[in-house]
């Protein structure tokens, strides 16, 4: 059995390995929420409720996106509070929304080869398309780029992008290399999902994360 690492701890781990995340604030109370959205964050915003057992948030409808004003954000927050009632929560997260192409970056500890890293096209549909690439860690930049380019996502990394939408090959490869380094240096990580990862023309951000640890003694 594995246990999930808390959201806050997960974020510090990502930060320690140079994995960029959107600007975000973690809050627990409506007062903290109001204070946070007052003037520090750039709209549009995303608000999420983070359950302590960290399941798939969108499946539980615990995410509200595209919030353009403080009023919309407050409304979203109170409806989230309502929907989450009965679900034990770690906190709420307010994030600046990143516009770009959605990918998934994940890791899994294989019984034979140890830590492996995975990259795939967009968010929740990857389980349908099964368009993803895998490597055994560690990974250097060159191999990370090869991983990105062997999936259909390759179209976004070309100079002109796909239908004008371009994703940064360098930034996405850098995130992949950093994620690989993180799991390699933390062998207790049994599984990880950075899902979605959103790539823009200049950057690449882990928008949500879920890290499962092996039980001690395993």
């Amino acid at each position: 059995m594995a246990t999930a690492l808390g959201y806050k701890q997960s974020l510090s781990l990502l930060e320690a390995y140079g994995i960029e995340t959107p600007v975000q604030v973690l809050v627990r109370t409506p007062e903290q929420f109001d204070y946070a959205i007052a003037d520090r964050l750039r709209y549009p915003l995303v608000v999420k409720a983070i359950p302590t057992d960290a399941g798939h948030k969108s499946e539980k409808h615990l995410v509200e996106t595209g919030l353009r004003t403080a009023k919309e954000a407050k409304q979203a927050f109170s409806s989230l509070v309502q929907r989450a009632s009965g679900t034990p929560l770690e906190c709420f997260v307010i994030q600046e929304q990143v516009k770009g192409v959605e990918f998934i970056v994940g890791s899994k500890k294989d019984d034979v080869f140890g830590q492996t890293i995975m990259f795939g096209m967009g968010g929740v549909y990857v389980e349908l398309t099964r368009d993803f690439s895998v490597r055994v860690c560690p990974l250097d930049t060159e191999h990370a780029k090869a991983m990105l380019l062997e999936t259909k996502a390759a179209a976004f990394f070309t100079r002109d992008g796909f239908r004008g939408i371009h994703a940064s090959l360098d930034a996405t490869a850098r995130l992949l290399v950093n994620a690989s380094k993180m799991v390699e240096e933390n062998p207790r990580i049994a599984e990880m999902d950075l899902n979605p990862v959103i790539a823009t023309a200049n950057g690449c951000y882990a928008v949500d994360c879920r890290i499962l640890l092996e039980q001690k003694g395993q």
Binding site: A2, A54, G106, V112, G120, V136, D193, L212
Partner: protein, 466 residues
């Protein structure tokens, strides 16, 4: 367990001066008699070219005074001379005691054929650990338990109970399955495959698949390594060894147990997506191991890679005297990532000057038209093999009334001699009447198939695309 790899451990298995067969038996259906026959005659069943082991062979069994006309000793202690290798064909319950006796006798290496160890569960695992510890005490090498044994054709050593012995060749076959090895040998003899080493690693109480791959790196008889594998303990060491060895000796792997989809996990996507075979594929690609889909591919790839140099110049030409076969082959090439070169006007002019049919295809696949005689094949093969932007060639021959299969084969063989760095595969389609040509090709180390798909797959293996 061996911490660092020590190649002398495997040398002791492969090059003994004397072998004892413990559990040698008068019963023709027993493993003990099978092993003894393999040593004394080279093979249990008669096959052409099997040679008896040139060193000393000592049957051991307290219940017999002689077996197959050889004096039989009650125990290893009774053998008056030193023993380098002992093959154990005794019941599981007796193995530990025999291992100890062999240690006292200063036997250097053991092949333990006996089953009933880790493969049967916890109790067997304990017994296996005990025998490994006992062998370590005496610094003895162990192969097995639960294995078919080892065959080393260049040393005329057959320390196995395989039914037949393969001929001397340059492919080492390392198998985790003993029963499969047996069938593979029989099939290999039928299909002209030859081996530098054939080893069944069994439960790997001590030496495992990776150790043998590492040993093959500097074995002068081995040019390519074929591996059949079900599972491994240390994947990282396997990768590290293969990454190094595959630079000089191609490694081809057939991995069993691919069905395993990702494990159901507590809600993470990656866990359910990344199945163990996907990881194997990734690992193989990262360490230069070629993955085969079936046994035929395992030996076709390793055979081709042992006799021809690999190339990374992915730009091939297909020469054919049948349009359909050429198009099919082009499809299979595309499926496997092989790129077909675009023939330039210059190349076409050269071909025409040498004499093409006026309806020839003028493009790749180069269709010479059905009535192609050896002269037209020669014009095409020589021109395209010597063209710089073409990295490899597949030559297809369909059988027409005027086809001269032996002459066509000779043309390919001569061209390959001039351009040894360019991989060549042939598809001489047919049966009885194409056999003389295909046989000649194979004898000259050129991969030949009856099927364009298999040729394309082998070409992909030689171009490092699998």
């Amino acid at each position: 367990m061996i911490m660092a790899f020590d190649r002398t451990r495997i040398d002791q298995l492969v090059k003994p001066a004397s072998v004892a067969v413990i559990g040698a038996s008068a019963d023709p259906a027993s493993v003990g008699q099978g092993v003894l026959k393999s040593l004394l005659y080279g093979s249990v069943f008669e096959v052409g070219g099997a040679r008896p082991f040139p060193g000393k062979v000592y049957p051991v069994n307290p219940h017999h005074s002689d077996v197959l006309g050889k004096k039989c000793y009650p125990s290893v202690h009774d053998i008056p001379e030193p023993v380098d290798l002992a093959v154990l064909c005794v019941p599981a319950a007796a193995v530990l005691q025999v291992v100890r006796e062999c240690g006292q006798k200063k036997v250097k290496a053991l092949v333990i054929t006996t089953a009933g160890f880790a493969e049967i569960g916890a109790q067997g695992r304990i017994l296996q650990e005990q025998l490994a510890a006992e062998a370590d005490k005496f610094k003895m090498t162990i192969l097995g338990p639960n294995c078919l044994g080892i065959i080393r054709p260049p040393e005329s050593l057959n320390a196995s109970f395989a039914l037949a012995a393969p001929k001397d060749g340059d492919v080492a076959f390392i198998s985790q399955s003993g029963a499969l090895s047996d069938s593979v040998i029989d099939w290999a003899i039928e299909n002209r495959f030859k081996f530098s080493l054939l080893v069944s690693v069994g439960n790997s109480a001590q030496l495992d698949t990776t150790d043998f791959i590492e040993w093959c790196e500097t074995d002068p008889h081995t040019k390519a390594i074929a591996v059949y594998l079900e599972g491994l303990k240390d994947g990282r060491r396997f990768m590290e060894v293969c990454r190094r060895v595959s630079r000089t000796k191609p490694i081809v792997l057939l991995k069993a147990g691919r069905g395993a989809a990702g494990t159901k996990s507590a809600g993470a996507h990656t866990g359910s997506l990344v199945g163990s075979y996907r990881v194997w594929k990734a690992a193989c690609r990262q360490c230069g191991v070629v993955l085969a889909n079936d046994f035929e591919e395992l030996f076709e790839f390793s055979g081709a890679l042992a006799s021809q140099k690999r190339s990374t110049h992915n730009s091939i030409a297909i020469i054919t005297n049948g349009g359909g076969a050429g198009v099919l082959c082009a499809d299979y090439c595309e499926e496997n990532g092989i790129r077909l070169a675009e023939l330039t006007e210059d190349t076409l002019k050269t071909l025409e000057n040498k004499g093409m049919h006026k309806a020839y295809s003028r493009r790749n696949p180069l269709d010479l038209v059905g009535d192609a005689l050896p002269e037209r094949y020669k014009a095409a093969v020589d021109t395209l093999m010597s063209t710089e932007y073409i990295g490899a060639v597949i030559v297809i021959q369909t059988l027409q009334t005027m086809t001269d299969t032996v002459e066509d084969a000779k043309i390919v063989i001569e061209a390959k001699k001039k351009f040894p760095d360019k991989p060549v595969c042939c598809v001489f389609m047919g049966g009885r009447f194409t056999r003389p040509g295909s046989k000649l090709l194979v004898e000259h180390g050129i991969a030949e198939f009856n099927d364009p798909r298999r040729a394309a797959r082998t070409m992909a293996a030689m171009l490092g695309l699998l």
